[in-house]
């Protein structure tokens, strides 16, 4: 296997349209996330930047460490580690100690990408692997939601942000509940307008529905994203939460609340659409989206946790190779596909 077959181009995912390169696609996503990032800083103060930077630093440093061991380790330059770090940072609570964000970034790249063989070989979305690790490792810190910035305004840094490495924050932070938490544990709804603007408690980048959708439209116009996945997720979620809402409207929220609360928009637009870990065929994309939507509603309604976006995407990531296999287009003139 030393000589290359000139007629056979073997390439791993992400498989992109002609003229599109990985760095360019990554840059587009970074642009799309810029307003969301600025909103996070606006709502949660300077601490938000620190958390994001710590997470990005963890991801980039890990990638650099491993890349420098290999020949031709220039993958750091394509922006994927920065993007993974930023995406992870946007799913973290504002008051998270910085060392945890850094660790999460390192795990995202180490366990989520490098161990699989680098970009294109990973089965699971790296940012969500990092988040799943953090949630299982530090369940209290990861579900403690700092309130929106108070009197200090822009320069707010949560005291818990600055906990020493391996140590707890020590002080009892002022906390508030996320809209989903309020719904699940106290059957208390949040006005839709707050969810759309984003002035609610929650992870850094998940609160502002409007900006997330705007970024998604930009990516769709730049053809960086398979629109089928977010659309099918959101439609599925709306249908199933409408059914549950009709059964018991005090326990289960209405469809619009379901779509605009928690990590639904952030996850379905920016994470479920990761070209490496989602199906490549159009039919596969629909199946993937419906699967994620169903799982989210089930986990949110009947699971122990208020939010289920992360686990839904990870579970469907695991099913992606299978979906791809069974949705291969039929070769023209042949019998059944997949024989």
């Amino acid at each position: 296997m030393t000589e290359k077959d000139p007629n056979l181009l073997l390439q791993h995912a992400p498989l992109l349209q002609q003229g599109m390169t990985t760095p360019q696609a990554m840059r587009d996503v970074l642009y799309a996330l810029l307003p969301v990032t600025l909103a996070a800083v606006w709502f949660f103060g300077l601490g938000a930047i620190l958390v994001l930077l710590a997470s990005i630093a963890g991801a980039a440093l890990t990638e650099w460490t491993f890349a420098s061991q290999e020949k031709g380790g220039e993958s750091l330059l394509d922006g994927t580690a920065l993007l993974t770090g930023l995406l992870l940072g946007l799913t973290l609570p504002p008051g998270l100690p910085l060392w945890m964000a850094f660790l999460g970034g390192a795990v995202s790249i180490g366990l989520g990408k490098v161990i699989w063989g680098g970009l294109g070989h990973n089965l699971f979305n790296p940012a969500l692997v990092g988040r799943a690790f953090l949630l299982a490792t530090f369940p209290i810190a990861m579900t403690t939601w700092a309130p929106l910035t108070g009197a200090d305004g822009f320069f707010t840094v949560q005291p818990s942000n600055l906990a020493l490495p391996f140590m707890q924050s020590g002080t009892d932070a002022v906390t508030s509940a996320t809209p989903l938490g309020l719904m699940k544990f106290e059957q208390q709804s949040t006005p839709l307008v707050n969810l759309i603007i984003g002035n609610t408690a929650g992870s850094l980048g998940e609160t502002s529905g409007l900006l997330l959708i705007a970024g998604g439209i930009y990516l769709w116009m730049r053809r960086d994203l398979d629109w089928r996945i977010p659309v099918s997720i959101l439609i599925t979620v709306m249908i199933f939460s409408a059914i549950l809402d009709m059964v018991d409207s005090t326990r289960f929220p209405d469809p619009l609340f379901s779509v605009f609360s928690g990590g639904m928009l952030l996850g379905s637009i920016y994470m479920a659409t990761d070209p490496v870990t989602s199906p490549i065929t159009p039919k596969g994309a629909w199946i993937f989206g419906v699967g994620v939507g169903l799982l989210v509603v089930l986990i949110r309604a009947f699971g122990g946790l208020p939010e289920g976006m992360m686990y839904s995407i990870l579970l469907m990531n695991a099913a992606t190779p299978l979906i791809d296999r069974y949705t291969q287009p039929r070769v023209f003139g042949r019998g059944k596909a997949l024989t």
């Binding site: 299982a136 490792t137 140590m167 707890q168 020590g170």
Partner: protein
């Protein structure tokens, strides 16, 4: 050292490093992953396995001429199960809290393929002293692996080692480490380091050999 002593030492040392049942042969994964959430549990499991393996190897090597080939596996299992039951009752009487933590995993030592494997591959074909040396080496290697995993998981997951607090009350425990996924993660990382070390060592030896060749 005469030849027998040399061989006995060789049988002993191979189980600890070169043929380590966990790091090299990847055997006995069930107790390895299940009961290593604290160093004391790992130690108790290692001790019980040590007792069962050494006892069984001794008996199997002693009776190897009496045991018919057709029924050897059944006989090995009877011998192993007897030692496991003895270990089970003894632990329950002496250290009830540890016994409760280990739970079903003590009876499950019977199913540890490392133990049956040593009987079939070694004890039934060798002299008593060699079989015992081999068993001690393998059991020590297993204990070493359990303790490594148990210590890492307890230090990170609970901030303590053998129940002794290491970092003070402000330590933030890594809860995943004492949950089942922590076992898989830690074992994977340890195997990574072990293999990395083995590869580096081989490269180093190659380099030294090449340097010697060129200089001579």
């Amino acid at each position: 050292m005469d030849k027998t002593q040399n061989q006995a030492y060789e049988e002993f040392i191979k189980g600890i490093w070169r043929e380590n049942p966990v790091f090299v042969q990847v055997l006995g994964m069930c107790p390895m992953l299940a009961v290593t959430n604290s160093a004391i549990n790992a130690f108790a499991m290692g001790g019980a396995t040590f007792f069962v393996l050494v006892g069984s190897s001794f008996l199997v090597a002693s009776f190897k001429n009496l045991i018919r080939k057709q029924v050897r596996i059944s006989s090995f299992i009877i011998i192993i199960a007897t030692f496991v039951t003895v270990a089970d009752y003894t632990l329950e009487a002496l250290v009830p809290t540890v016994h409760k933590e280990l739970g079903a995993f003590i009876p499950l030592i019977v199913a540890n393929c490392m133990i049956l494997g040593r009987q079939e591959a070694f004890a039934s074909k060798n002299t008593i002293s060699m079989a015992v040396m081999d068993a001690i080496g393998m059991a020590a290697g297993f204990m070493l692996a359990l303790l490594t995993l148990g210590s890492v998981r307890e230090i990170l997951g609970n901030g303590s080692l053998f129940g002794v607090d290491l970092f003070g009350p402000d330590f933030e425990p890594w809860i995943i480490m004492i949950l089942p996924p922590g076992g898989f993660l830690t074992l994977g990382l340890i195997l990574l380091v072990f293999n990395w070390f083995t590869v580096k060592k081989a490269q180093f030896i190659d380099k030294v050999a090449a340097a010697e060749r060129s200089s001579s």
